[in-house]
Symmetry: C2
Subunit: 364 residues, 2 copies
């Protein structure tokens, strides 16, 4: 029996609660002969509280050794004033960078049953199914210099550097086109080439890869500000959107919010395929954050975390049947009306995090 | 009679069409004793076609000498492949930078009569009235190095620099708080202080100015990605949003699109108040772009351009009665059902650019 090594990093806020529901699923699959091995470690504020760092060297080693990392969420007001270098987010950024997870896949799907939870009109979002492909290890997140200096007169000067190379753009472009071929065959590339040199290079490289390798896929270039507008106006015009780290952060959050299903959306962050083993490093996390306001109350929707586990089944372990089974269980449970508060129609009874997790297990 | 020197820069696409309607208004006010002097010049693609630059030195001199610049729109597919340094947008960026127009005010207002034109549910946007205050002369738009270099192996490397100083943040913060005091007394400051050093400095400076000078105004800090989400989810929670040049570009476009009134929204870009004359440099432009797809067809909505002229009356010339008169004329014409295609309910008859402009003059 093949073993699949999972590192669980529940993190802060609602992270531990939603991760607990995934553990139930891991047990369920293990009892049916799938060789999952799990370890758990700290990240974010909880790592800071225990070790004064946002992730320990030991946890990083485990992440490097794992076949997949499942990540909950990090951050909260409790750590608003910890030093910048050890703030909760630093743990997540280090995982992304050190594991080389350059491709962040963020599906934004509007479940018909939940269309009314969107702030957009039903007809604008019903049936929405777009995929944001965000570059995750470059751009302004990691470029140097990144510094805050005090000048002679006591005032300060802060600098961040947005940097991209041809190679970085090529590999994320290929991920986007490969995905589009399995979907509706359209890629929209978003940048600000009218203002940024990185945008100019981005557009050039995407155009080149398109011509050379994916000429049969439809490509459009769209300015990032216009892309944000179009997402609000008519999101169904999009299939795959490929964009840089910072624009991807914002555009994927907009797309997620459109669906009315924020608590439902998973994401995958993937590294390069190892030419020898054929495997790739991967981290799976919900699109939602740590939601400190509802943490510890058993109210959080575990479906984004469960869906992230489903993505791991699919992308890291090639367990396609199991992934389908899980997706179907989620759909059936939703259809039966079992919902947490964020997605329950007002006036109906909502269940808690654990009950929803249990319902999925039972449905399986 | 005081003279008010206006420089009209219609630009490209629908710019000239909508500017023509403003000229009618200028004539109307002039006939009633307001001393407007106007000059007209080229900017953007039309300047490139005539002079191979996006704005001439002569036009820049006129802009420096004017009391206010009225700007239409620039850009279009025709100029997609002109050299970066002389692309249409460069003319606008130079005007902003050389005139020192650091404060960009972008109101996002949902006119009740137009609420149904929004892709959002009526109850989410009806009555929306927020003001985005965008820093306009700093950040990644102008920071150096900004370059695209070819490396020895033939691959390329692009860099943009996001840079902010204490002074730059202080002055835009004061603009935001001053506006909030005349509105609903709340400022939301948006940055990515969890990832960017410029965000860390931004948050520090806003906090300091708030404490020292505006402690009676409500202040909240919000991460830019979350701000984008909240704009989609529940935009009415905001009053004034203050943010940097790049986030402001995106967030203000989202806010504009929410209202369903994109063709209606004006903006003002203001410089520092001259301590001697008490005046300030200013440029007024519609939030919408050059809309090449409908250019030259007489379909464009002139109200954003007309509203921009209204902002000039108010902010540059202190002609408050005249500005009120114009606002009222716009509201009355809209209420009467005279609308261009973008804002006409489907199934009703739409008027063209000129007819709508004429209707405003008649209403005055
Ligand atoms: C937590 C934060 C550092 C992160 C980001 O900005 O990338 C988050 O917003 C995300 O989108 O995953
Ligand atoms: C035309 C372009 C340079 C400009 C910008 O990015 O600032 C526009 O999008 C705007 O928002 O005024």
């Amino acid at each position: 029996m093949a073993t699949h090594k999972l590192l669980l990093l529940p993190g802060d806020g609602i992270g531990p609660e939603v991760m607990r529901e995934v553990e139930k699923l891991v047990s369920w699959f293990r009892a049916r002969g799938i060789g999952f091995e799990t370890e758990t470690d700290l990240v974010g504020g909880s790592a800071y509280d225990a070790h004064k760092v946002s992730i320990t060297e030991d946890a990083m080693k485990r992440a490097q050794a794992a076949d997949a990392v499942l990540f909950g969420a990090v951050g909260g007001p409790k750590w608003d004033n910890v030093p910048y270098a050890v703030r909760p987010e630093a743990g997540l950024l280090r995982l992304r960078k050190d594991l080389g997870l350059f491709a962040n896949l963020r599906p934004a799907i509007c479940y018909p049953a939940l269309a009314d939870a969107s702030s957009l009109k039903r007809e604008v979002v019903e049936g929405l199914d777009i995929m944001i492909v965000r570059e995750l290890t470059g751009g302004v997140y990691f470029g140097e210099p990144k510094e805050l200096v005090t000048l002679e007169d006591g005032s300060q000067r802060a600098v961040d550097t947005q940097l991209y190379t041809t190679g970085e753009i090529e590999r994320i472009t290929r991920v986007a086109f490969d995905l589009a071929k399995k979907r509706r065959n359209k890629v929209s590339s978003a940048e600000k080439s009218n203002v940024m040199k990185t945008g100019v290079l981005w557009r050039q490289v995407v155009t080149k890869i398109h011509k050379a390798e994916f000429a049969d896929v439809q490509l459009e270039h769209v300015l990032a500000d216009n892309c944000a507008m179009q997402l609000v106006k008519n999101p169904k015009q999009f299939d795959v959107i490929v964009t840089d780290n910072l624009f991807g952060d914002i555009l994927s959050d907009i797309a997620a919010m459109l669906t009315g299903s924020l608590g439902m959306l998973p994401s995958a962050s993937l590294g390069a395929v190892d030419p020898v083993t054929g495997s790739r490093k991967a981290l799976y996390e919900p699109v939602h954050g740590s939601a400190p306001d509802i943490a510890g109350k058993g109210l959080a929707n575990p479906l984004a975390m469960i869906g992230s586990f489903g993505m791991a089944l699919r992308y890291s372990f090639d367990l396609l049947n199991e992934a389908d089974l899980l997706d179907k269980a989620i759909a059936n449970v939703l259809a039966s009306g079992t919902r947490t508060k964020d997605i329950a129609p007002s006036g109906t009874n909502a269940v808690g995090t654990q009950e929803l997790g249990d319902a999925i297990v039972k449905e399986l």
